[in-house]
Each structure stands twice: as structure tokens, then as C-alpha cells.
Amino acid sequence: QMSEEQCNTFQSLLDRRIDLEPLQYIMGQWDFHDLVGLKIKEPMLCPRPETEELVEFVLEEVSELIRNRGSTNERIRILDVGCGTGAIGLAIANRYCDEVQVVALDVLPEAVELSNNNAKTFLANHVGKKEGLEVNTIYEAILCSADDFTNTQECNTYKMDFDIVVSNPPYIPSKDMVTLSEDVSRYESDKALCGGDDGLDIIRHIVRRLPEWTSGNCWMEVDDSHPSFIADWLSPGSQESARLGVKCISTYKDFCGRDRFVKLRVL
């Protein structure tokens, strides 16, 4: 038996769903990887299952880095480009809270706020147990685009030298935007979805900046039209690869059998 107030609340939630509002927005939270109850808010992108696989790739590499480096107190530095809800970076920080330091970028202030908020939720317990450890030692989101995340002579604010770069950048080609179902197109941010004509705009920014950010690997989730293109474009020994200082090491399929992931390395 539900009270009248409960019935009204339930009805209004149903109405929202009937209007195709994503369930994650209605609930205000969902699970991602090992994160239970990640807060999710419009218009940030609702994390997809494919992105969990991206996290697994990075976790495997972090684990290897930890194995091979011997004893040290230095944290493994990870850059999450286009963090949205903070899902990717936080899933990594959650698993390796003693070993990693995640810096996360987004162009939407709401995304930066949401990511830092989620960070507090998931890392507070761990931070509380250790003297002098703050949440932002493990995870910090800042307002910055991929392109702007650079140091110049006038402005040398950012610490670079990342061990791993990871991104689920907006990658949908413009022409495909109209094919999106309504629950995506009407609610989730265009900025989080559209990657320009071929969907590669942001990816190109990332590739351009990559050698400034890291001398290691970059893992990306991309449109299924991209991996073969990128493998070609940044093929080891190719002119473009030499010019940009980045090569494509391999591509991977997701669990649906679609080309989905690329692994790049700085030359």
C-alpha cells in the first residue's frame, strides 16, 4: 500500500520515463564498474557499458606499472580527458587509491563539479584513514578543454608527465546525430556526443597534445568507424605518425563485437 504522496511521486517519475528521460537521470545515480551509486546529472553523459571495458584496459596497465616499478611512494599519474560524471577516472582511483593520482578535464563546469563531488563520495572513507591525505591528492577535476591543457611561456600552471592518458571523447559524426534515439538526443549533452564531421575533432586535439602530456600510452573509446582509420593514420613509421609524434599500437573490439578501442603511444 502506498500513500497518496508516494503515488504522486511515483506517477511523476513514470511520466518522466514515458517522456524518454534516461533512467539514470531520473534515479540521479547508477552503477558503473565497481562504483555503486555514481551520481549522474543532466546533461552529463550516462556511462555506457563499453566504457567499463575501457577502464579494464587501463586497470590492467596500471597493475603492470605497479608490478614493474619496485617500491616507491610516487603515484602513477593518469589523465582523464572529458570526464563527465567522473566515471572513468574514479573507477581507476577507486581500485588503486594508494597508487594513482588522477587529473580529469572537462569543458562543462557542471561536469567538473559533479566529478569532484563523486570523488568526495567514493574516496572520503579512504582519505579519512590516512594522515594528511586529501581527496585531491588522488583525484581532481578541472575546467579545461583538451586543447587548452597545455603550458606556454606565459602560463605554466599544469603539471604534466602523466603515465597514462585515457579518454571517452565525444566521437559521434555530425551526420549520425540525427539518427540518435530521443532519450539520448533530447537529454544528453551534444557537447559530450558530437565529434564534428567525422567524429574525430576532439580525438585530433588529444593526439596533438599527447606528446606534451605523456611519454606513455593513451587509451581511447571511439566510434566504430574510427579504429581502422586511426590505425592507418597513425600507423608506426607513417609520415603523420612521425609528424605528430604518436603511433597507434593496437585496436580492440568491445563485447558486442564492434571496433571500439584504440591504444596509442607517444614516440
Binding site: 534516461p22 552503477d31 564498474h33 555506457r48 571495458e53 539518427t179 539520448v184 559530450a192 563485447f255 558486442c256
Partner: protein, 472 residues
């Protein structure tokens, strides 16, 4: 009187000094004299006339192995595996040392007796009687010792399985069988019982973690089927390791509760639950009826594969992983909350479908653990069938379709059909799961009796064939 007192003191003094020297000597002697059947061993085991020659030789081999393992441990060998082997041997070794001690005492007393009798002294009559009394006392100690050693030949836990029984985690599958809603309700009760007893560490001490891998419920609160993972987080059984051992010589048989308690303390989650595998039958009047109904619930208990070994146990190319696949381009194109995963192990056809969790990653992880446990269990059973004719269905935890237990509510009685043990108070045994710890010890005893019978056959055969040393 003065003389007698002096002699008694002298007697005690000789008794204290002599045995130590004899004990080491006798071990040495037994190692050197193994070649001929006519050899007389100086370790004193031949005093135990109640044991066959073959049995005594088997005991000797165990004692030798014990001493060897001890030496290896001191030289820095692997403490885990050696420690566990030591645990199966220390009891027998302690008995052997006691036997050697008694033998040495008897020998020195017999010498003293000879001397005293030869002296022909008038006063020595009292002393002779005293010595004879002492010798009788020592003789009397041998019988119970002999019985204990015979029992100790067969360790409580099968050495082939002891690692699994003491340290492996468990996956428990529960499925309601015939009986519709009633069966589902009973399945829910059994599941709750298992959860409760697991959380109290299976009577062994530290609480175990219970994770519900999957669970499909009915509207009435029953369970159609469920899978649980019970984990000791590496703790295994409560106490299993190399400890000092106190040899008690009195003839009092160890209390059954103490034996049961010691057994349960050693068992890890798999060892504790393994004999729950099979069909549990319940007889009671359902809530909405007045006629007695019989329903059934099938339980399967499998050793769990540790998370770190799952990927080794199941190489990716042997698996088919199906996820909810959106039409179109997938990825950012589609927002889905469908996270169900189905994993199929292609070579065996074993499959698990998981949709418990909101995260596809978690569903995948749970499904992998289920498939890994089921594949491992299938392979183990196949290996066992190839290896031997199992003496009884108790070897390897039994057949899942075998009817193992009946819970009769009107008669308020639970009966285990294998060990033929019955207890009263169905509800109280069921609600906290304590029936698991009640029936496990007699079932382990049955399995041990099987091994004892097998050993006796073997020793009989080897005796007939004139072999002097049986294989361990």
C-alpha cells in the same frame, strides 16, 4: 624399610635417565634394520601385538616421513605444504615416541629385574614385586595406545583433498524442485540457513563472507534458484597448522562433540558445506492447505575458484560472452541500462546468465566465477571417474540427484539418509543453518571408515603376499 625406600628412589632415578638415550638409539636402529623380514625393530612397535606386521611397518614409514618433514622444515623448506603434511603426521609421531619411551622403560626395568632376581637377596622380594607391578602398568598402557595408533593411520581428512577441504571457498547452487511454491519457500529457508551459519564461520570461528551471485525469487518470498559464494577471505578453516601435540594415554575415548568440534574447526567453506550436495526433501503442511505435501530442493556445492585464478582457469578463447546488444552503432549512440551478461564455456557447454547487478562489468565478473566453479567441478568429477571406482557416493561430495536428507515437520525431525542420523527440532536446526555442522562430522567419519576399510584390505593383501612394506 630404609632399604626399600632407597631402592624405590633408585628405581625412579634409573627410569628418568635411561629412556632418552634409548629413544634416539631405537629410531636409528629401525632405519638400519629394514632389510629382512626377521628383523627385530628396537623402536618398541613390536610390543603392539594387536597390530599386524604390515600395520606396524606402515606406522614406521609415517614416523620416518614425519622426521624427514621436520628436518626439511628446519632447513627452510616451504612451511605451507610441509606444515600441512606435518599436521597429518604429528599425531602418529607422538604416539610412536610414547611407544618408544614405554619400550625403553620396560627394557631397563626388565634388566633391573634380572639383576635383582640374580642377586638372590632376601630383601629384594619386595623390590621384585614392585618391578613386576611397574611392568604390568606399562604393559597396560600399550592397549589403548595401540588402538589410537590404528585410528591415526587414517587421517580424519582425506589427504588427497585436505587442501581443498581446509582452504577452498565455496559456490552453493540452490534450486527448488518438485512442489511448486512450497519447494520455493523451502529453498528460501535453506538459503537463509546457509547464510546464517556461514556468517558465523561454520562453527569454526571467524565469520565468512556470503555473496549472493544470483537469486530469482517468487512473489511469495520463495526462491526458484540462487547461487551463493561463501568466502573465508583466505582464512580457510579456523585452526589448521603445525601445533604441539599432547599425547593422552587414558583409555577414555574422545568425546564425540570434541572430535566433531576439532573437525569443524579445520574445515574451510567448501569442506564445511560439501555434504549438503544432493536433494533435500521436505514434508509439511503448506500455509494455504491442510494436506501434507512433499517437496524437494536440490543443492550443489562446488569449490570456488579464487578470483585471481579465474582467468587462468577460463582462457578467453574458450568463452562466448553475450551482452545485451543495442541495434545500430552502440557506444555513445545508445543509452542502455540493460547490463545482463551470459557467459558460455564452449568446450563443456556450461553457461551462466547474470543480471543481478546494474553494472555489466559486475555481472560479467559474477558470471565468470560461476562458470569457473562449475567447469572446475565438472572436470574434477570426470577425472575422478577415470581414476577409481568410488567406494561410496561420499567420495567427492556425492551425486547431486541423490536424496540426502528429509525434513519432516509433523514429526519435527531431520534425517540424513547417508549417515542415518536424526535430530529433533526442524525449525531451530534449519533457521540458523546449524544442521550443516551437525551432519558433517558423521559424514566425514563415514568417508574415513571407507578409507580405513580400503587400507585394511590393502594391508591384508600385502600380508598375504609377504610384502613387508606397504605404500603410503
Amino acid at each position: 624399610i630404609q632399604q626399600t625406600v632407597t631402592n624405590r628412589v633408585f628405581l625412579q632415578h634409573r627410569r628418568c635417565v635411561a629412556p632418552i638415550h634409548h629413544r634416539y638409539a631405537s629410531t636409528q636402529a629401525s632405519i638400519n634394520n629394514e632389510d629382512t623380514e626377521q628383523t627385530i625393530y628396537a623402536d618398541g612397535l613390536d610390543q603392539l601385538t594387536g597390530l599386524s606386521q604390515a600395520t606396524r611397518n606402515r606406522i614406521r614409514t609415517m614416523k620416518q616421513r614425519h622426521d624427514e618433514v621436520l628436518r626439511l622444515l628446519h632447513e627452510g623448506g616451504d612451511p605451507t605444504s610441509l606444515g600441512k603434511e606435518m599436521s597429518t603426521l604429528r599425531e602418529m609421531s607422538a604416539y610412536c615416541e610414547k611407544v618408544a619411551e614405554i619400550h625403553a622403560e620396560r627394557t631397563s626395568l626388565e634388566e633391573l629385574l634380572e639383576e635383582t632376581e640374580a642377586s638372590g637377596d632376601e630383601d629384594s622380594k619386595d623390590m621384585i614385586d614392585e618391578i613386576r607391578d611397574e611392568l604390568e602398568e606399562l604393559q597396560a598402557k600399550l592397549q589403548p595406545l595401540s588402538r589410537k595408533m590404528h585410528k591415526s593411520l587414517i587421517p580424519v581428512l582425506n589427504p588427497d583433498d585436505v587442501e581443498e577441504l581446509t582452504s577452498s571457498d565455496a559456490v552453493i547452487d540452490i534450486r527448488a524442485g518438485t512442489g511448486g511454491d512450497e519447494a520455493c519457500l523451502f529453498a528460501a529457508e535453506i538459503m537463509a540457513g546457509y547464510e546464517a551459519i556461514a556468517k558465523s564461520g561454520g562453527d569454526g570461528g571467524k565469520s565468512w563472507d556470503v555473496e549472493i551471485l544470483s537469486c530469482s525469487k517468487t512473489d511469495l518470498g520463495g526462491v526458484k534458484e540462487a547461487s551463493l559464494a561463501v568466502s573465508s577471505r583466505g582464512g580457510g578453516g579456523g585452526s589448521y597448522g603445525y601445533e604441539s601435540f599432547d599425547v593422552s594415554l587414558d583409555d577414555k575415548p574422545e568425546a564425540e562433540e570434541d572430535i566433531a568440534k576439532k573437525l569443524l574447526q579445520q574445515l574451510g567453506p567448501y569442506g564445511f558445506f560439501q555434504y549438503e550436495s544432493g536433494v533435500h526433501r521436505v514434508q509439511r503442511v503448506p500455509v494455504n492447505d491442510n494436506k501434507l505435501q512433499t517437496s524437494a530442493v536440490a543443492v550443489g556445492v562446488l569449490p570456488a575458484i579464487p578470483e585471481s585464478q579465474v582467468s587462468n582457469a577460463l582462457p578467453l578463447d574458450e568463452l562466448k560472452i553475450d551482452v545485451m546488444r543495442a541495434s545500430g552503432a552502440g557506444g555513445q549512440h545508445v543509452n542502455t541500462t540493460e547490463s545482463a551478461v551470459r557467459i558460455t564455456h564452449i568446450p563443456t557447454g556450461i553457461m551462466a546468465y547474470m543480471q543481478e547487478e546494474r553494472s555489466q562489468h559486475k555481472n560479467r565478473s559474477k558470471a565468470m566465477r560461476l562458470v569457473a566453479a562449475r567447469v572446475h567441478s565438472l572436470r574434477k568429477q570426470q577425472a575422478m571417474q577415470e581414476r577409481s571406482n568410488a567406494r561410496s557416493s561420499l567420495m567427492g561430495g556425492g551425486d547431486r540427484s541423490e536424496r540426502v536428507r528429509t525434513y519432516n515437520f509433523p514429526q519435527d525431525r531431520i534425517t540424513d539418509h547417508r549417515c542415518k542420523v536424526s535430530v529433533n527440532g526442524v525449525q531451530s536446526w534449519l533457521s540458523d543453518g546449524s544442521m550443516v555442522g551437525k551432519f558433517a562430522p558423521p559424514l566425514y567419519q563415514m568417508e574415513r571408515d571407507d578409507r580405513t576399510a580400503a587400507l585394511e584390505e590393502e594391508l591384508e593383501d600385502s600380508g598375504k603376499n609377504g610384502k613387508k612394506n606397504s605404500k603410503i
